[in-house]
């Protein structure tokens, strides 16, 4: 971490330093770190009907990953989540990067207005966004078909959210629509930080703005692109609200929109005839934690380190 100079020795101010740090550290530890660790501990226990919780080692993990009743549900939600993430990486982030590139063009008029408007969906609640699109895509209302008619594609319209083959991809696009604002904002901010003389020199040499973007600006903001990617990964593998709002805890039709978050909720709280099970719920949460941890470590060690070498 870069520091602006020698810091004050704390021995002259022990009491203030402790008083400044204690409240935040205590609340954070009690309500965040302790529950995360305790959830992992709970995943090694089980409560037999009517009995006390007992240590069962890796039994819960064996149940989730290998028991025929559970493993197909788990892997289904895992691969659905991967698809959900892939759509965000392939559609949301490129659109966000492209829009940020266009917005950072010199002498663009209405720049701030465009930016403010484009980020608006990102500010709304995921639940509200889910309902908005559920209404628009509803065949009962038919406004979705009317909109497609404007660009001559009415024949493509169907009950996308209701069909097993298209529900997940439709929900992914709804989520992309909402979250494009994140790559847009972060990459736009990174583009603005690029010194003008770098760009001016290339323009004077006859490069087009597009060439400047591809060959100069984009390589310089790659660390931000990597950060956006890992934020996308963590956000996607932690998603829940959208699926729950539009499809309910059962993530229908036939679990085709089930992702890790909805599986966690159902395992923890139960649904219909199946009772909730905190220990199996904690096991699913711990597996989600491992997946997210793997992604973050991959980012820190494989990507960020390699990119750091190209920094100015």
């Amino acid at each position: 971490m870069a520091h602006s100079g020698p810091m004050t020795d704390w021995r002259k101010a022990k009491l203030p330093v402790i008083a400044f740090l204690a409240p935040a550290t205590i609340i954070y530890t009690l309500f965040m770190i302790y529950p995360l660790l305790d959830s992992i501990r709970l995943s090694f226990y089980a409560t037999p009907s009517g009995g006390e919780a007992a240590f069962v080692g890796l039994d819960n993990y064996r149940t989730i990953l290998a028991d025929p009743d559970w493993s197909s549900t788990f892997w289904n939600s895992f691969w659905n989540n991967m698809k959900f993430f892939a759509v965000h990486m392939l559609i949301q982030n490129p659109i966000g990067i492209a829009l940020a590139g266009i917005l950072s063009l010199p002498q663009l008029r209405f720049r701030n207005t465009y930016r403010t408007m484009m980020i608006m969906p990102t500010m709304l609640s995921v639940v509200i966004v889910g309902f908005i699109w559920q209404l628009i895509l509803s065949p009962v209302w038919g406004v979705g078909a009317d909109l497609l008619d404007i660009i001559g594609l009415k024949s493509l319209f169907g009950p996308w959210l209701g069909k097993e083959g298209s529900a997940l991809i439709t929900l992914s696009f709804i989520s992309v629509w909402q979250w494009v604002g994140i790559p847009l904002m972060l990459i736009y901010a990174a583009l603005l930080a690029i010194p003008d003389d770098l760009v001016d020199a290339a323009i004077v040499d006859g490069a087009s703005h597009f060439e400047v973007f591809i060959h100069i600006k984009l390589p310089l903001v790659l660390p931000t692109v990597a950060m956006v990617s890992i934020l996308t990964f963590v956000g996607n593998f932690n998603a829940f609200d959208l699926i729950y709002a539009v499809k309910g805890a059962l993530a229908g039709p036939n679990f085709s929109t089930d992702i890790m978050g909805t599986l966690f909720y159902r395992t923890f709280f139960g649904y219909q005839l199946q009772l909730g099970n905190p220990h199996l719920g904690a096991t699913v949460a711990s597996l989600m934690f491992l997946i997210i941890l793997a992604g973050v470590l991959f980012y820190l060690f494989a990507i960020q380190r390699r990119l750091a070498r190209y920094q100015l």
Partner: protein, 282 residues
Amino acid sequence: MSFSNIRREDASRAVIVHAILLTYTLVALYPIFLVVINAFKTRKGIFKDPMGLPNADTFSLEGFTKVLAKSDFELFFYNSFSVTIITIVIVLLLAAMAAWALSEYKFPGNTVLALYLAIGIMVPIRLGSVSILNLIVDLGLINTLTALVMVYVAQGLPLAIFILTEFMHQIPKDLKEAARCDGVGEFKIFFAIILPLIRPAVATVAVFTMIPIWNDLWFPLILAPGDGKQTITLGVQQFIGQYVTDWNAVLASLSLAIIPILVLYLIFSRQLIRGLTSGAVK
């Protein structure tokens, strides 16, 4: 190339650029616009002419009257407001104190503590929900807004501390040294000199803390789902679940949830972007 050719090329490029930006702006805004205008129509108007603005024939507030009569929207708003405002104030104060200590004083374990407090930026607090629920039950806080505040403070602190620590490094040394020479105490330096100085970063931190809290469904659903304690997001979700076929009421409830956040956003968007682009977030 002659001068006029260059100008024509510039003009046509500007047209393409604005066409792309306008198209995307429409894609981003039209769905929201569509829901809001239809909330002000009769049921007939909603189905006959969904894309038209409400006119003398189709204008109606029946959706809003129904929502306000059949559910406690005022209460849900009040709940969301209290939870959000109290959380922001606590997060800002505690995060500023911690960020100041981390950036100003040299003590053993400084870097380790900073890293420890940063874990929460990447690891979602939701993954600890099973244990959080146990904890909240043990504390007797189930179905209270206090439970939400506690969890949201813990959720908001890591990013707030990170942003504010970066920001505090930029505070000129002379200011605090001058105060120290005058014999001003460490607490007074923080509360009288430093706290007022971080105002520019406050808006950024507040927005980043506020949006996820206001919009959250998960914790209200598991910690405070009961009567009278719902936040606006959970309230709308439950209301729509109940009145799913009543289009007027559904559209009106969505609009009631959308409009305040959009107004707040339009007020604060400038500060948010300024905070982002001034390097408060790296």
